[in-house]
Amino acid sequence: MIWVAVVVASIGCYLLKLAGLSLPSALLERPEVQRVAVLLPVALLAGLVAVETFGADGRLVVDLRLAGLGAGVVALVLRAPFLVVIVVAAATTALLRAVT
């Protein structure tokens, strides 16, 4: 089942890229469509941050992932590169788990 989803999603994402280069641009250049396109990743990524931080098998929980995310925010504010943000978040959570 995972393989089916992998293949369908991958080909779908490729076709979306191909459509951008191939389709007539009149529809996609409308300003409101452009604005939705800019905001769509913002909403989805924010949703993903929330679900991955608080979700656990269909329940909401507050655990040490939140501490890791907080450390990641500090790294982002300090303009740390992508990998540093991830490592800081993971290390913070791992350390706190080890001592509690």
Partner: protein, 271 residues
């Protein structure tokens, strides 16, 4: 070498000095000799400078892509995907945010198929990049089958910031090819490394996932509407976690963007 260059006034001072350019000029002795004689050579030299600058930027992006690919690979296999599935996603999907979303939903206990719309909705922005890029790249037929695969955040940013079409096309292909190779290499290394990890929670890898999404989100929060949409999307998704099957809360954040995008127009028209 540098003393000679800094003594050049005017056009040379007006452009950014760079060690790379000096090296590439030394290696091209002919250009060096005719430098002051011919306008055409100055143009060629500035093209050489531009290419060096593009390669330097692409190198920075490549380093980031390798690291990003490795973290994706490691997180993907610890989320329950196989090494092969992880690598196929990097090869065929080849758009980082969608890949992370897919493994996030699938790994978070959602049905595998729930990962598909999440990935597609995030990939939709590449369609809009393509609209902008089609005029610049001027690719047709079979060429556009290759080019379109490379139309993602990084290549679009590298391309549209260049001033003339020759530099834009060069930037697109250099960034795209380097990125594709290193993203996939990073994925494989990360996936193999991730397979060796026994307890992902002990290493805090479950906190790495939301941090990765936040790092992807962060640069997009530079305008007030985006910040409102982010808070709204996060709130909707959080509230729905206990109520609907896994995968759905993330999708439910999408209408927040649609409403905000359409309302923006209404506000502008009435003002």
């Amino acid at each position: 070498m540098s003393g000679r260059w800094t003594s050049k006034p005017g056009w040379w001072r007006a452009t950014r000095a760079s060690i790379d350019v000096s090296f590439s000029l030394v290696s091209r002795g002919v250009v060096h000799q005719r430098l002051s004689a011919s306008v055409a050579t100055v143009a060629e030299m500035s093209w050489e400078r531009e290419r060096a600058s593009i390669r330097r930027d692409a190198g920075g992006i490549a380093a980031y892509a390798t690291a990003f690919g490795m973290s994706y690979g490691a997180v993907s296999v610890t989320s329950g995907l196989s090494v092969a599935q992880t690598c196929v996603l990097s090869l065929v999907m080849f758009t980082g945010a969608s890949q992370f979303a897919f493994i996030g939903v699938v790994g978070g206990g959602g049905s595998a198929l729930a990962g598909v719309p999440a990935a597609l909705l995030l990939a939709l922005r590449n369609t809009f990049y393509g609209v902008r890029m089609s005029g610049i790249l001027g690719v047709r037929g079979r060429q556009s089958l290759f080019a379109s695969h490379l139309v993602i955040d990084e290549t679009t940013a590298m391309t549209i910031t260049r001033s003339d079409q020759r530099a834009q096309r060069y930037a697109f292909w250099v960034t795209g090819v380097v990125l594709f190779v290193l993203w996939n290499a990073g994925t494989l290394v990360g996936a193999l490394g991730g397979s060796a990890i026994g307890e992902p929670e002990a290493l805090g890898l479950d906190a790495a996932v939301p941090a990765a999404f936040l790092a992807l989100l962060w640069p997009r929060l530079d305008d007030p509407t985006a910040r409102v949409v982010a808070v709204g999307g996060a709130a909707v998704a959080t509230l729905l976690v206990p109520l609907v099957p896994a995968g759905v809360p993330v999708l439910a954040a999408a209408p927040v963007a649609v409403v905000a995008g359409l309302r923006g127009r209404a506000v502008r028209e009435t003002s």
